[in-house]
């Protein structure tokens, strides 16, 4: 979750420096209010002098200062600098106790690298501090795992926790495996890629809040230097060769130390018996202790005794919340009742938010659109220990969520709760639709900004859709379950182009399948065909299941023919052709391509026609019919020129490059060297102008091979050298380039020595 605005970037820098607003204000000579406004985005373009003062206050070096200045100019965060993957949220700073467990984790980590990769399972009831311990341990053990650290939320209590394949892809991407390589591996190759990646360098993976063994098992590496830490309410005895640690309440001494650490040691030392009593009233459960400690920390006028008395009364007053086998309602209840009304309302409503975290905009929506009120309420909840945060997003502990949900039902009534949930879902999905449309060829920026979420650029839209992916997907599922079919179809339709930009999310087949079912219920065969086609695409491209995909494109074709729609009929042929090509059925694929081109031409679908033409050309190359391939590519390029104004510019650019590459390959296969190199040179040139280094690396490989076959040795080296130097090259291409260059150097070496 990268910071995206200047304000968020500034807040992150400040927190990384360990400064409060006041401390940064003092260090920089600016007002806390002014810095606060910048962080909240109320002021987006700071003066140059302000930036200099901030840089001074933050003690930034020259490079970081330059990054801050450019971020200020653009009003957004700079692209993150390359660094070892550290996908860990911030851990609590006042961690206390668990020394035995930490010692055990250290000794297990020390054994990593010899034999099977160690796996430790932390189990225990909710609120026992499993996640805190895992995070704390991950920080301590970081030096032993220089390959990177990542924590994944397995959302064990969710109705549909994330699948192992989705989680695996997340780890791989955090480990820096490019999407292209993931795509190449496919679902069958991914487990192997995962094991190889974790075997190649020491990685620490924290799997937080696991549902059960089957969710975890595929994510355990075989042998190698990496380590996995699992937290779960369950003991997971079905996993073999695992070290298991069980946590429940803290020992009395540690519980008191935790309270003292939060409220202040001097204060605790003044009333040791009362601190002990308070620890007992909290059941020595870390979560409850934290809430109680935060209460006292924010009320310096209270004695511990007075608070403990209140807590004892509260315990009798409140019907105890039984969640699992933990009863911790009293400390929650007392803190909750002293919240400002806004914060209390937000706390209750947060129990409705699906997914694992919440951003400021969602909170603001829940409070009727008031952003400053939401920020204040969120900060108040964090201060009271009722909400966790990693800077820009907030997390409600499961146990507190249950508590908040019970408060909501009791104070606002079930009907109001349902209405609020429905309102939240509608808003989430409306925002998702607006954000998704940024990526549609016919849309772009929404005519009307949704207000709470900044969707001024495609990048902002992408960030929102990705950060709130769990959230809007939850709303999408609930809306589908409620039978609001028209909304479901709208959302899926708006995601069509965006899904192409976030292929490994793991939920696209579900989204489009759900929408196809909704369209069927709506009795709209054209919509149904469209969504079935998207589903076929998702299975083919996102999940690499060509055989399954063919079944869905056939269903799409049946619906499209029922609807009498040549466009969707054409697309279904295109997807069938694509999938069949992948299974090696080139004859069938060619036939589908031919039909696709025919139907799409009939439909006047320029984008689809372009894809069909390109696919047709490639199929001819695959089939070894190079003369025909030259003709097909030339015709497609002519079409592209003819329709220049009707095609979205970046789609046109990518299509032209791909067609040039296909034409070059066809010429090369026929031995027409001058034509081949001319086409490929032109392709490289277009890539540089885009710029599109991924595609450029692919064209360069074709160019190098063509030059090699033509005997133009100098140019071979030049093309491979350029390819190897591209930072965002397709890794397969880079590999080929590096291998060539290394071999060439080895050959050159003896000659150099002799000379």
């Amino acid at each position: 979750m990268a910071a995206t605005t200047f304000g968020e970037y500034l807040r992150r820098l400040r927190q990384d420096a360990g400064l409060t607003l006041e401390e940064l204000a003092e260090a920089s000579g600016l007002s806390p209010r002014g810095i606060g406004n910048l962080e909240r985005g109320h002021r987006t373009t700071p003066q140059r002098g302000t930036v200099a003062a901030l840089a001074l206050g933050l003690k930034l070096d020259d490079e970081a200062r330059a990054r801050l200045a450019s971020a200020a100019r653009e009003g957004r965060a700079p692209d993150p600098a390359p660094r070892p993957a550290d996908g860990l949220p911030r851990s609590v700073e006042d961690f206390v106790g668990r020394q035995k467990e930490l010692a055990r984790l250290r000794s297990v980590a020390a054994a990593a690298g010899s034999g099977p990769a160690p796996v430790v399972a932390l189990s225990g009831p909710p609120g026992a501090g499993k996640t805190s311990l895992a995070l704390h341990a991950a920080r301590l053990l970081a030096p032993s795992f220089p390959g990177g650290r990542i924590m994944l939320d397995l959302r064990g209590l969710d109705a549909s926790p994330p699948e192992p394949a989705t989680l695996m892809a997340q780890v791989l991407r955090a480990a820096g495996v490019p999407d292209g390589e993931l795509a190449k591996a496919g679902p069958d190759g991914q487990p192997g890629l995962y094991r190889r990646t974790l075997a190649a360098r020491p990685f620490l993976v924290v799997l937080d809040n696991a549902a059960g063994e089957s969710q975890v098992r595929p994510l355990l590496p075989g042998a190698g230097p990496s380590m996995v830490l699992v937290t779960s309410r369950r003991i997971l005895s079905g996993l073999e060769g695992v070290d298991r640690l069980m946590l429940d309440e803290l020992p009395a001494g540690d519980a008191q130390a935790l309270l003292a650490g939060i409220m202040g040691r001097e204060r605790a030392a003044a009333e040791p018996e009362q601190v002990a009593r308070l620890a007992a009233l909290c059941g020595r459960l870390p979560l409850a202790l934290r809430v109680a400690g935060c209460w006292l920390a924010t009320r310096t006028g209270w004695t511990v005794e007075r608070y403990a008395d209140r807590l004892a009364v509260e315990e009798r007053r409140l019907t105890m919340l039984a969640a699992g086998d933990v009863r911790v309602g009293a400390a929650f209840g007392l803190s909750y009742r002293r919240l400002t009304p806004e914060a209390a309302r937000l706390f209750r409503l947060l129990s409705l938010v699906p997914g694992s975290g919440v951003g400021t905009a969602v909170a603001a929506h829940l409070l009727g659109g008031d952003v400053p009120a939401a920020e204040d309420a969120l900060e108040e909840l964090v201060e009271m220990g009722l909400l966790g945060t990693d800077g820009s997003r907030y997390r409600l502990h499961d146990l507190l969520r249950l508590f908040a949900r019970a408060r909501l039902a009791e104070e606002d009534g079930e009907e109001a709760a349902r209405a609020a949930a429905a309102g939240l879902w509608r808003w989430l999905l409306r925002t998702a639709v607006l954000a998704g449309r940024w990526f549609e060829p016919d849309h772009g920026a929404p005519a009307r900004q949704p207000g709470l979420v900044r969707l001024g650029t495609a990048e902002e839209a992408r960030t929102w859709l990705q950060e709130e992916g769990d959230t809007w997907l939850g709303a999408f599922r609930a809306t589908a379950a409620a039978g609001e079919d028209a909304t479901v179809v709208d959302v899926a339709e708006a995601m069509h182009w965006f899904s192409d930009q976030w292929m490994f999310w793991g939920h696209w087949p579900e989204v489009f399948r759900t929408a196809a079912e909704a369209a069927q219920r709506l009795g709209d065969p054209l919509l149904e065909a469209t969504q079935l086609n998207y589903c076929a695409w998702a299975l083919l491209v996102c999940e690499h299941r060509p055989r399954d995909s063919v079944a869905w494109s056939s269903r799409a074709r049946a619906a499209a023919l029922r609807a009498g729609d040549p466009g969707q009929t054409g697309w279904s042929h295109l997807y069938s052709a694509w999938a069949l090509g992948k299974t090696g059925s080139h004859d069938e694929a060619a036939e589908h391509n031919r039909l696709a081109a025919r139907y799409l031409a009939e439909a006047g679908d320029v984008h689809g026609g372009l894809q069909a033409a390109a696919a047709h050309g490639l199929a001819l190359i695959e089939a070894g019919r190079y003369e025909a391939a030259v003709g097909a590519h030339r015709a497609a390029l002519a079409d592209l020129d003819g329709q220049a104004g009707r095609i979205e510019p970046h789609i046109a650019a990518v299509s032209r490059i791909n067609l040039m590459m296909g034409l070059g390959r066809s010429h090369a296969a026929l031995g027409n060297w001058p034509e081949a190199t001319r086409c490929l040179d032109q392709g490289v040139d277009l890539c540089r102008r885009s710029p599109n280094p991924g595609l450029e690396s692919r064209v360069l490989i074709q160019l190098a091979r063509a030059c090699a076959a033509a005997g133009a040795g100098e140019r071979v080296r030049e093309a491979y050298a350029r390819c190897a130097s591209l930072e965002q090259a397709d890794p397969v291409c880079r590999e080929e380039a590096r291998a060539y260059l290394a071999a060439a150097d080895r050959e050159a070496e003896p000659a150099a020595r002799n000379g």
């Binding site: 668990r98 020394q99 035995k100 467990e101 055990r104 189990s123 225990g124 009831p125 369950r234 003991i235 005895s237 079905g238 070290d243 298991r244 640690l245 069980m246 946590l247 429940d248 309440e249 020992p251 009395a252 086998d325």
Partner: protein, 235 residues
């Protein structure tokens, strides 16, 4: 499906009240519970007695043993209706192995020099030797993280163990044929945690670690209940 009966076997220097915090939770979960008084006179005699208790129970049984009780269930656990074994800070003996032999593989715990020996009469034979824990030192060695008032009560109500039990070889090891779970009390000063860990790992059982004193059932009842539940669900 009806719940198995949970039979709770206490250890040496203790009695069935060791399970006072665990029993209410198990009953609330709907488990029938039996927590017999173990004679603590000899390994084979104690095992025969517990086996007789188990045999009287009509349905399936989860057999739980604490400390020396672990050695007892290792022998008694071969009864046909035993579905699973749960060891709590216990001795998982190998067939033909005695407590003394298993313990002797590792360094002594703090218990060794806190033991008190006294003769007791055996009808028609020489006197036996009763072993108990020094009452003053009992709380720190046995129950460091248990309520101190309760720890002193436990010190004076402890049931001694006859010394001969240390040397008796286990005639059989039930964990060979029954699914087993083991809990290591990692701050145990009565039994070296390495002894517990070694026995469990040798048996290949699912092992969990809890930072606890020897009396884990009173110090961390939730973790103990969670492990018994897991065994009942899976066995």
């Amino acid at each position: 499906m009806s719940r198995p009966t949970v039979v709770l076997v206490h250890g040496a220097f203790a009695d069935a009240s060791s399970y006072a915090s665990v029993v209410p939770e198990l009953l609330a979960d709907g488990f029938p519970v039996v927590a017999p008084a173990v004679p603590n006179r000899s390994l084979t005699g104690d095992a025969a007695y517990v086996a007789s208790v188990v045999r009287r129970i009509p349905g399936p049984v989860i057999l739980v043993g604490h400390s020396y009780g672990g050695a007892v269930i290792t022998v008694a656990g071969t009864e046909e209706n035993v579905r699973g074994l749960v060891y709590l800070a216990g001795y998982a003996l190998e067939e033909g192995e005695s407590l003394g032999e298993l313990q002797g593989r590792f360094s002594d715990s703090d218990l060794a020099d806190a033991l008190v020996y006294a003769p007791f009469p055996v009808e028609g034979q020489e006197d036996g030797t009763d072993v108990s824990v020094d009452v003053e030192r009992f709380p720190e060695i046995f129950a460091a993280d248990v309520d101190p008032v309760l720890a002193r009560v436990l010190a004076v109500t402890q049931r001694p163990l006859a010394a001969r039990a240390f040397g008796e070889a286990a005639p059989v090891a039930a964990w060979r044929s029954k699914p087993s779970w083991g809990l290591v009390a990692s701050s145990d000063r009565t039994i070296n945690p390495e002894v517990e860990r070694f026995g469990y790992q040798r048996a290949g059982m699912t092992t969990v670690e809890v930072d606890s004193s020897h009396l884990v059932m009173l110090a961390h009842p939730k973790s103990v209940v969670a492990l018994i539940r897991e065994a009942a669900d899976r066995a």
